[in-house]
Amino acid sequence: MKRPLLMTGGILAAVGSGFFLMNALPSCKPKTTQAMVTGNAAEKVYVKPGSYDEFYDFVSGGFSGQMSVYGLPSGRLLRRIPVFSQDPETGYGYSEETKPMLMTSHGFIPWDDAHHPEMSMTDGSHDGKWVFINGNNTPRVALIDLTTFRTKSIIEIPNSAGNHSSPFSTPNTEYVVAGTRFSIPMGTDAERDVPIDSYKANFKGTVSFIHPEKETGKMSIAFQIKTPGIDFDLAHSGKGPSEGWMFFSCYNTEKAHSLLEVNASQNDKDFIMAVNWKKAEQYAKEGRGKKVAGKYYSNWWNGSTHSAENTTYNEVLQLDPVELGDLIYFMPCPKSPHGCDVDPSGRYIVGSGKLAALLPVFSFEKIQAAIAAKDYEGEYDGIPVLKYESVLHGEVKKPGLGPLHTEFDGNGNAYTSMFVSSEIVKWNLESLEVLDRIPTYYSIGHLSIPGGDSRTPYGKYVIAYNKITKDRYLPTGPELTQSAQLYSIEGDKMELLLDFPTTGEPHYAQATPAEPIRERSVKFFRLEDNMHPFAAKGEKETKVERRGKEVHVWMTTIRSHFTPDNIEGVKMGDDVYFHVTNLEQDWDVPHGFAVIGAGTAELLIMPGETQTLKWTPDRIGVQTFYCTDFCSALHQEMQGYIRVSPAGSNVTLKASTSSVDAS
């Protein structure tokens, strides 16, 4: 009887000590982030209340279609700039003035998928004037004016589908590019209506060069280069010795049209396409391009009328590189490259092949020598393909898994994001040796260093933009926050400082010194410069006017009342246009305007600005409107009435604001 008991005791003891051992040996478990964060990380990201961050970080809003602005190193969200998507908060895309910003050849498109912010540049360095971002779905590029942090201009890209390889800038923002992620059949209706499996015969790609006007920010397409039917992923401009060249990463050289995840992953090497854009510019100037059909919109925000203007085009200047020659060259690059990044000196081009086990670094000098010597391994659809070995500076061996994107610290080091192994890898551009690696949480996509793709990087931080967050934050149901992570790169070892949540999927981002932008920030719009056709620049200019079935109200706001705030004589079947001018001339005094049953959104009107809300009354009676932005101690009193009468009624149209003195 005793033996079994002893045995049980022995077993229990063995199991118990087993548990003890498992717990006593935590090194058997994978490391958690707690081990990753060092003691003074908080100190390095703490920006005390009332102080400013050192950098602005412009982060793509992904499928939100917008762009977010963060301060670094704090990771504080400063603003979401409406770009490709309607924004009910500001009335962007709802007000009569902003609706034309979202016009395309497909009509009014109130959403897009925004991927890659790109700062405008002077001499290859960020100049803080504009930031561009691409719309991936309905091919577009937007320009945001950094004096107002508003979308200034949007251009549609014809003969493109999926504007992913965009909007990378030349060193003086002569051009920003737009390479199509889909090749498609182009031309007449009959030429476009072809079987999908005739891909190899009929499908072509394009890369477009968009020219933004220096003074106005108006955009037009200078020229478009027709390419073989492959897909473009990313791009980057040459600089310094390589100025005048643009490099595009290409995938699907297999020309697959179905199950691309397999069929476009067969070739050992795809391409980086080197484009001599100075040559293209010259060909275009010499009239050696061909005008081809391509309907597109260029939308521009007129700052003096506070209204968007549309320009439509029906054709685009296309250059055929096979016909013209000396324009584009392919460099073999393993394998389905994503990133295509030029170092600050302009001498090296790094290809990041998503499926490759190494990182090739190409030498611009060797590319030029190979072109001069016609050192080709063959042709691809009539385009010369340079010999891989002839243009290679060297390879970084076993850098990690799934290299996506590389930026630079300005001290001779490169940082590459590894999607599959979820880490950032630091390596040296000359020795090509891996120096350090640090995990990201989880599955990093792009990374960015302030100025890290320009001639002048500020090698203080690298920021990881992650695809997955899982357990990093309090859960919010199945849909979790998106996230970025800030790392210090000032020492030899990278150091994790901070996680911060982002809006929408953060694809790429660019960080830049805050000072030059902060200094130029507009505080309000000058009323005397307001050239809006329906502006009321004082309460004396307010009125109502009937134009057939339209009733126009010239309305003003000032703390804290509307003029007029009593309107009568509107009838069922009318459309009412509230043209609201904010008379304030001080910093941070916007007024909001909301009217009951409006099927659109509110207006948020900055001081000195005029914006218009169209309202179609749906019922008879006295309806209401009010100010939505807490403007003063008497904000709650900022409200008014509009009377809606039956269609045949003979109530006279009138509008008033009367004070107690008048009654």
Binding site: I558, R559, D586, A633, S659
Partner: protein
């Protein structure tokens, strides 16, 4: 010396004479109103926008007849000074000094009465009424007016005016001492 003083007076036509600075929790950047010989400058519109809550009058240049005759007075004073310097009669210097002092005192009094009316004669329909509260700005120095801190002080023109007065007084004193020395010698 007197001529320089007389000409210096003309500076008053071109620079602000007095200034009122305001700060509040929600105006960390502050607001300034500057009073010139013939107009206001600075953030007058902003101040007006705020003052309507408590029923203070809208400040406009037309409200002040002073703005039409003040420049003339300044020119006249300057001419008087010039005449004094050319003619060299001591009585004229004394006269100039007295007029100038009177002018200064009158200006301060005028500003006080204006400030008094401005701060007390409030629109009875004003949105914010606080029993017994008046918003008279300080003549000189600091005062708390609801959420605002107000400072009132001479601007460049004011300092020039004081300088001129000091200079003339100095000249008068020197002349007086010289005269006494001459008298004691004889």
């Amino acid at each position: 010396m007197i001529a320089i003083s007389a000409l210096a007076l003309l500076v008053l036509l071109f620079v602000p004479i007095w200034r009122i600075d305001l700060t509040a929790p929600q105006y960390p950047e502050g607001m300034t109103m500057q009073i010139h010989a013939d107009h206001f400058s600075g953030d007058v519109e902003k101040i007006n926008g705020l003052n309507h809550y408590i029923g203070m009058a809208h400040i406009e240049n037309d409200m002040f007849p002073e703005f039409t005759y003040l420049p003339k007075v300044i020119v006249a004073l300057s001419v008087l000074g010039l005449v004094a310097s050319l003619w060299g009669k001591r009585i004229l210097l004394v006269l100039g000094l007295i007029t100038l002092t009177l002018f200064g005192l009158w200006a301060l009094y005028d500003m006080y009465t204006w400030g008094y009316h401005y701060g007390h004669d409030l629109d009875p329909h004003a949105a914010i009424k606080i029993e017994g509260m008046a918003y008279q700005p300080p003549l000189i120095g600091h005062k708390q007016l609801l959420n605002f801190n107000a400072w009132s002080a001479p601007d460049i023109g004011g300092w020039v005016l004081f300088g001129v007065m000091g200079l003339l007084a100095g000249v008068y004193f020197l002349e007086w001492r010289e005269l006494r020395r001459k008298r004691s010698k004889t």
